[in-house]
Amino acid sequence: MGNIKDEAAQWLDGTAANITFIVTKDCQLACKYCYLVGKNDKERMSFLTAKKAIDYILTSSLFFGRQKSVILDFIGGEPLLEVELIDKICDYFKLQTYIRGHKWFDAYRINLTTNGLNYHTKKVRKFIEKNITHLSITITIDGNEIKHDLNRVYKNSGKGSYKNVLKNIPLWLKDFKDIGTKVTISSADIPYIKESVLHLFSLGIHHLYTNCVFEDVWKEGDDKLFEEQLSELADIIIDNEYYKDFTCSFFSENIGKPLDPILENQNWCGAGKMLAVDAAGMFYPCTRFAGYSLREKKPIIIGNVRDGIDKNKLRPFLTLDRTTQSPQKCLDCEVASGCAWCQGENYDAAETNTIYQRATAICLMHKARVRANNYYWNKLYRKLELEGQREEFEKNKRKVKPVDC
């Protein structure tokens, strides 16, 4: 198997097109922080719709004229509930790129994020073995049992899913040796962050992509508790030298600086530069703009498999910048860098039907993270300097890509 880490770096450097197939809106779980408010077991993508989407995409230069490679993302609900469909879609994509002599023939990757519950099944194993050279699968495990089961519960019983996910982690790490997982933080699980990160390291997961939910779920005092958890985690990572083998995106050197309004004015989110298609064959600038993701607003549909993309609907997304959508407090913020936003959540939370109003529910959490992050790097660099290891560390450190959503 190739080195997924290096390959991912190339594939995620922004030059690849990204197409997301919403293959099902069903899931075995009902995670409490899940933004997918309209999950259901009715809307399953047909193979015909997927074929039409691929046919359109492979013949359209409007959206994908320049990218030399493509990432095929499969999302749900739980995508592995539809692994046979995904396999058929991938086969069709491979066949069509070959027949058409398309530049994406063999220049593709398949990405999946799964709850991991079906990872061991025969159907899934077969799919993985068949596609392993072009495949990246992430299993979401949110931390230790308490934290994971606080949110990631079965939709029917309400029971936690931790034990059943844990069973599949060794198999997953065998398939994808240097893979990471995404850890989502909401209000209730802040007290378990430190233990959860250490637990995931102990399972052999070396890279953790962490983010706070963008929704307005935070309670008074959450930021203080968050900072405490991260600071204690920083002590343990440094004292035990976990930083040599593990990364956790809570701690990133580039966050917490002021941003130049002209030179650093780019949008955070990639919505509009990617394309999502759902079971009805509708196109969206990202899955977060599909109806099942939105609490308050109507979906933003930018086209469909029959008529193609309405380029006018994409213009706001592709011209959106940081300063135009940010309130004054964000423009004046002295620790602005690394403060993320989700365009879909911005839209859903906005006072009008616009993507140009940045939601700031995570403001205090970002500031808490910045303080803990400053503590981490100051402590780590002092230790490395005293031990004469700073240069060596700088040379070998792994770049952590920020997690968008």
Partner: protein
């Protein structure tokens, strides 16, 4: 900052812009709402523009209207000496009645191509001519070429009028030569509309499109959420554009791109064809002698839609 208040006197008040009036039944604004609208304009220091239907208003309405300095926008059928702006959407009207008027001519692409030769005659008569293309958003490649050709032909007509010592005002070709900055619709920023139902709207188009899409009412005041998005500084494509004569229609923006601050491809292309034709006209007039010496030359551009280079700006 608000400067203008448009008051639609009736549901059948004439459209003077891109939108269509889809209400067929007469529904006159109540006298109470009219009085309150006028008072709102007075206390907010706004210039009021009344938009008339094609029938004569009751005398008590005329008396109330007369209590405030204002502009009157009227359909051709209601044209009288008190008309400041007259609107026609019929190319066959009697032009002699339009002498020295400010005329808004609403037309679709097809009618425009078929009748554009009549524009020179109108420009000879009126003080100012604003042409509004009512199906602007449906511009296709063929329209693009046709529009370019018509504007080129019109340049020759305008040039001839200037040579004759006249100073025609024609929104599609002469405005850009005179302007020094963006001069657009500005609905929601400098202009707001009061509809017959007593509610405020960003512009009349928002009222006719969806009555629930209001921004407050005359009883409780104006509430424009995300007001900044109606300002030029918050329009990423437009704020760096120099097609200053562009209508930058807020309603068409939202209709076509779903955002009030983002113009469609068609809006940008049409505005740039006008801008480029204005450039040619200005160069041609300057070749004949001194012409607008205090105005800068309009630069040559390599694109018709600034969106094409928008990523370079970011």
């Amino acid at each position: 900052m608000l400067q203008y208040l448009v008051i639609l006197l009736d549901d059948t008040s004439i459209s003077f812009c891109h939108y269509s009036v889809n209400k067929k039944e007469r529904n006159l604004i109540s006298l109470d709402h009219l009085r309150k609208g006028i008072r709102f304009g007075m206390v907010e220091n706004l210039m009021i523009q009344f938009v008339y239907p094609d029938y004569t208003l009751p005398q008590e309405y005329l008396d109330v209207i007369d209590t405030i300095d204002h502009s009157s926008i009227k359909p051709f059928a209601a044209l009288d000496s008190g008309t400041d702006i007259v609107v026609i959407d019929d190319w066959e009207c009697d032009a002699t009645k339009l002498k020295d008027s400010v005329l808004v001519l609403r037309t679709n692409w097809k009618q425009f191509y078929e009748n554009h030769s009549k524009l020179k005659g109108l420009l000879n008569v009126v003080q100012r001519l604003n042409v509004v293309i009512t199906d602007l958003e449906r511009m296709n490649d063929c329209d693009r070429e046709n529009y370019k050709a018509v504007l080129e032909a019109m340049c020759k007509d305008i040039e001839a009028l200037y040579v004759d010592g006249k100073s025609p005002q024609f929104n599609l070709l002469t405005d850009r030569m005179i302007l020094t900055e963006m001069n657009n619709c500005n609905a929601g920023d400098t202009t707001i509309t009061l509809a017959p139902n007593g509610k405020f709207y960003i512009c009349p188009a928002f009222y006719y499109n969806d009555e629930n899409d209001n921004v407050g009412d005359i009883e409780n005041g104006l509430v424009i959420k995300n007001k900044q998005l109606y300002k030029l500084d918050y329009a990423p494509i437009c704020r760096k554009c120099d097609a200053w004569q562009c209508r930058r229609c807020t309603w068409l923006n939202r209709k076509t791109t779903l955002e009030v601050n983002t113009p469609s491809h068609e809006q940008c292309v049409a505005a740039h064809l006008e801008r480029n034709a204005s450039r040619d006209l200005m160069l041609s007039l300057r070749s004949k002698g001194t012409f607008l010496p205090d105005k800068e030359e309009i630069k040559e551009l390599t694109y018709l839609d600034p969106f094409e280079i928008a990523t370079r700006w970011k």
